[in-house]
Each structure stands twice: as C-alpha cells, then as structure tokens.
C-alpha cells in the first residue's frame, strides 16, 4: 500500500487530505442533487426534450410555456464565438511568450495578461455596454448595438489570459530533450516551435481551450449587459440572444419560490452545469484517445 513505510504523522495528514477531498466532491454531488430536486417538477411535467428543445419561454403564462432552445443556442454562439476570437490570439500569445519573447519583454507582458483575469466581470460588462454597444450603433447604423457578437468580443478578452497561461505552461512542460534534439539538427526556430513543441503540448493547449470554453459558458455579468436578452432564437452571431446565465440572473430575483417559474430557472441551472461538465468529460475522452493514437 502507498502508506507502507510512512510515519504516523504522514498517515494522519494524508487521511485528512483524503477526507477533505471526499467532502468537497460530496459537496458537488449535494449541489447537483439539490438543483435536481428543486427542478424536478419541470422535468416530470414538461419532459427533458420538451424543456431542451421547446423554443418558447413564457413561464408566466397559464399554462406556462417553458422551453430553452433559444437560450442554449445563444450560450453556444456566445461561448463558441468567444473561443473563435480568443483561441488564435491566446495561442499566438502563448507561443510568443514561451519561445520567442526576449526575457525582459515577457517579464512585463506576462503579469499584464494575468492582471486581465483580476478585473471583475461587471467592469468588463460595463465597458462593453458603454463603448462597444455605442460603437456598433454609430458605426454600423444598427437600431441597437447589443448582440451575441458584442458579448463574444468581451468574453474573448476575459478568457484570453486563461488560454495564454495554460498553453504557455504546457509548452514549457515539453521535455528539454526535444528542444535540444531540434537545435542539434539545426532546424529553424519556427520549425522547432510549430512542428515539434506545439504538437507535443497539444494536450495542455487543448485543455486550456476547454477551461476557457467552460468559463465563457458560465460567465454572467458581461453577457447580461451585452447580449440584448431577447427571447427570439438567434439566427446568426450578430443577432441578439439570451444566454442561460443571463436568463437566470435576470429572472431569479423576481420569482416566488415554489412557482413553476422558479423551478424552471433551477432546471436552467442544472442544464448549464451539465453542459459544462459534459464538455469537460467529452474533451477528456477525446484527449485520451489522441494520446493513445499518437
């Protein structure tokens, strides 16, 4: 056993760590069970497919129409769009910082990028609402400047630091032998980086992307202020929409506990949690397969 040869002190410490870890996973489980219980009437009355693929959200009508397809689509557009913008910038930045940047420059750039994570999301949302929305209205002569695209732009800025930090760490973790071998063979710096180091670090870089996607899906304040919160099914990136977190934030304050509106919002929360978990699990499976194949 792993404990063999350890002193009593180590055994106690590792037991404490195990129990704390157990308790925190139980906490996640308890939270899921609580949300499921709160939202149960929705699942049993409307059914999973009716809830997920219904496109009409009128929870106060009698009988209430509760379908969140347009919110799910909005969430995917906003988060996917944010990654579309953030991934090239973030990867480029990470590769630059890890391989090409002169040390003094990297020493300045890195903390600046990390500092972006410390800015509260409401500040980003406020900036976006004050600057981006106006900009779209004036430049493109739109009736109103809120759109999924505007929300994606702000979300991209919010997730870039995560992509940069994690991808850079992944690049630095590549065993130095590869680098030495590459240099010994006399390949160019670009070839070394793009053909040798990046493929070796792809698991970590992919992980960075997943982390960013999860964050972008769950982000609330910025999308609440920028996506426009319309109930229509968005047809393009430049339409307005209402992502799931914005829906919960907007409506939970005015519901009465026990009402089907309240239960429906809990169901929305469950869907959001499961979506984030599913993305994480799915990507992990994919990575494992990549690992075995390569």
């Amino acid at each position: 056993m792993i404990y063999r040869g350890l002193g009593l002190k180590e055994k106690i410490i590792s037991s404490i760590i195990i129990s704390v870890a157990t308790v925190s996973s139980l906490l996640l489980l308890a939270m899921l069970i609580f949300i499921l219980r709160e939202s149960w009437p929705i699942w049993s009355q409307i059914g999973v497919s009716g809830f997920l693929f219904g496109s009409s959200w009128r929870p106060l009508n009698t009988p209430p129409e509760i379908g969140i397809l347009s919110m799910i689509v909005s969430t995917m557009w906003v988060a996917g769009g944010a990654l579309l913008i953030a991934a090239p910038l973030g990867f480029g930045c990470a590769i630059f910082l890890a391989e090409f940047a002169p040390r003094p420059l990297a020493a300045i750039l890195r903390p600046v990028i990390n500092m972006l994570t410390g800015i509260p999301s409401v500040v980003y949302g406020f900036l976006g609402a004050a600057v981006l929305v106006k900009f779209f209205e004036v430049k493109f002569d739109l009736a109103s400047g809120e759109s999924l695209f505007a929300a994606s732009l702000i979300l991209a800025i919010m997730v870039i630091p995560f992509i940069v930090a994690n991808s850079e760490a992944a690049l630095r973790l590549v065993a130095p032998e590869y680098r030495h071998a590459g240099i010994a063979l006399g390949v160019s710096r670009q070839y070394l980086t793009l053909r040798i180091l990046v493929p070796l670090a792809r698991k970590g870089m992919f992980g960075a992307l997943v982390l960013a996607f999860g964050r972008a899906m769950g982000e609330t304040m910025a999308v609440l202020m920028l996506a426009g919160n319309t109930l229509r099914l968005p047809g393009s990136w430049f339409d307005k929409g209402e992502p799931l977190p914005a829906l919960i934030a907007l409506e939970l304050g005015s519901t009465t506990p026990g009402s089907s509106h309240h239960q429906a919002l809990f169901a929305v929360g469950l869907v959001l949690v499961l979506m984030v978990i599913a993305v994480n699990i799915g990507i992990n499976l994919l990575l494992n397969r990549l690992q075995k194949g390569g």
Binding site: A143, S144, N229, L231, E251
Partner: protein, 305 residues
C-alpha cells in the same frame, strides 16, 4: 494496515462532520438569542432595489437624528440604533419577510390577494407609488409628432406588431423601433402587463434590461428606443427622456394622485409579525413628512397623507 487506514479515515470524517454540525448548532442558538426582543436592537430590511435607496436614506437620517433608541422613545433601552438595508428584488423581499430573514420586506408591486394573506398577522405599509412612464429619447421626432399614444398603439409597439416608426406615423423616420423592457416576470413588467398589455405577450425581439437605471440609460443613448421608465428617472433626466401620454392622459402629479394615470405600482414594506415598538417608530418616521419627503426627492410619488 489497510483496515487501520480506513478506520482512521472514518474517524476523521466523523470528526469533520461533527465539527460542521457543531458549527451549525452554535449559530442557531446565537440567532435564537438575537431573535429575543429584549436583545435585538437592529431592524433588518431587504428586498426591492427600487425601495432600497429610499429606506437606506431614511435609515441614515433616522440613525443620525436619534443615535440610540431611548432618544426615540424613553421606554426603549439606551442602545445604538442599527438598521440594515439590503437589496435583492421584490420576490426576494416577499420571501425573506415570510421566512423571517428580514423584519421587513421591501416590495415594489401591487400584491395579489394570496400574497396579502401571508401578512394577515403582520403589517403592509404603503409609502408611495412608483409610476411607470412611457418614455422616448428627446431627439426622437415622435416626441413632437405624436406625444400621445393610445393603449392599442402601445400594445402594437410592445408586442412587436409595429416594428418601424414610420408604420406608427408616416411623418416619422424609416427606422426600426427598439423596444426596451425590464425582465419579464419582474415587478415593473407585471405592472405594465396589468395596465397596458393585459396578457398580450411582449415581443420576443424586445431587449430585456437588467435594471431600471440601465433602461433609462438605453433610452437616453439610443434615439430609436421606447420603453417604460420609473417616473423618478424621467424626472431626473427631463432633457433626455420625453414622457408620452397614454390615451390623452399625461403622467403629471395630479393625474397620478387622482388615479387617472394607471401605469404604476405600490411601494410597500411588509412584515410577517406585528411590528414591535422599535419597528413601529421607524415606520412612523418613514410616513412622517421627512420620510415621504425622501420618497418624493428620489422621484416617486409619496402616499397621500
């Protein structure tokens, strides 16, 4: 070895669990002590974000004026006055007043009968009303061309049947109408539904804006926007938001007080139990000239005395 390890884990888990339970228990006894009327000298108020600034300002001036309870009423102990005010929406205010989290819940909506029943043993105090005014940007020509809309026209605009200003009146520009509303299901949208829409669903293209201040800001920033705004915010920005009359009735103070202008909601404080002496003193203060002055100062219509 394995067995011992398992036992050790179990033991530690138990200790952890008991510590957590012990923590809960001591908290509970603490709050019980606080709840006893002889020991709790604070008033906790929470709920509607519309009412919060009013109550907070009154609480400040009340605390500053009297400082300790015995100065308010000599029968009360010489303890510092503490009034907590927190926001979270009308629904939260109702819920917290019912479950006892707060002594008073701030609610800015007209209560339904079944909601009133919950406070049958307690109190419902109206401080004033928050009137919703249909507002447009002052640069929008509709302010001159058509400063008076009928209820039917409003329903067509807000339900999305009319999408373009020109459809409303040929003299208006060929630009789409941006409809801005508060979150469907919130207090303000319930008021608007009861007074104007009467069940007709709001357009699914309407922008749902998370706060009244942001909604007023949207109207001020965007000249194609129409929306309903708290009268307070219209009064604070008279040059930027133009009020629209409904069925010929302008949202003036006289029309609001006489009840002719109908788009409004009550500003209420609710409590589950009869207010105790201290709470009653604060309620009296809110309903005094000073308290209602604050209601008016912040742009709402104080309750007639």
């Amino acid at each position: 070895m394995v067995k011992r390890r398992i036992w050790l884990s179990v033991l530690l888990c138990c200790i952890l669990a008991f510590t957590m339970l012990a923590g809960c228990a001591s908290n509970e006894t603490g709050s019980e002590n606080n709840a006893a009327p002889t020991e709790d000298y604070s008033i906790k108020i929470g709920g509607s974000s519309t009412l919060a600034p009013i109550i907070a300002q009154c609480a400040d001036s009340f605390t500053e004026e009297f400082k300790t309870w015995d100065k308010v009423d000599t029968s009360l102990p010489e303890e510092p006055i503490v009034i907590f005010v927190s926001t979270g929406g009308s629904g939260f205010g109702l819920k917290s007043a019912v479950d006892g989290t707060f002594d008073f819940g701030m609610v800015s909506k007209n209560l339904k009968d079944e909601e009133k029943e919950q406070f049958a043993n307690g109190s419902i105090t109206q401080l004033g009303s928050d009137v919703l005014i249909i507002g447009v940007n002052s640069e929008n020509p509709v302010a001159q061309v058509k400063p008076d809309l009928t209820t039917e026209e409003l329903v067509s605009i807000f339900s999305g049947k009319i999408k373009n200003w020109q459809e409303l009146d040929p003299a208006l520009p060929d630009r789409s109408i941006v409809v801005a509303v508060r979150d469907l299901g919130g207090g303000a949208s319930e008021v608007f539904d009861a007074a104007v829409m009467k069940g007709t669903p709001i357009s699914d293209e309407a922008l749902q804006i998370p706060s009244m201040g942001a909604l007023a800001g949207k109207i001020m920033d965007n000249k194609d926007t129409i929306g309903y705004v708290s009268s307070g915010l219209v009064n604070q920005n008279p040059d930027k938001i133009t009020p629209i009359s409904v069925d010929g009735i302008a949202p003036t103070l006289e029309n609001i007080n006489s009840g002719a202008y109908k788009i409004g909601r009550a500003l209420l404080l609710v409590s589950k139990d009869k207010p105790d002496n201290m709470e009653q003193k604060f309620l009296d203060y809110l309903l005094s000239e000073k308290g209602l002055g604050v209601v008016e100062e912040l742009g709402y219509v104080p309750v007639a005395r």
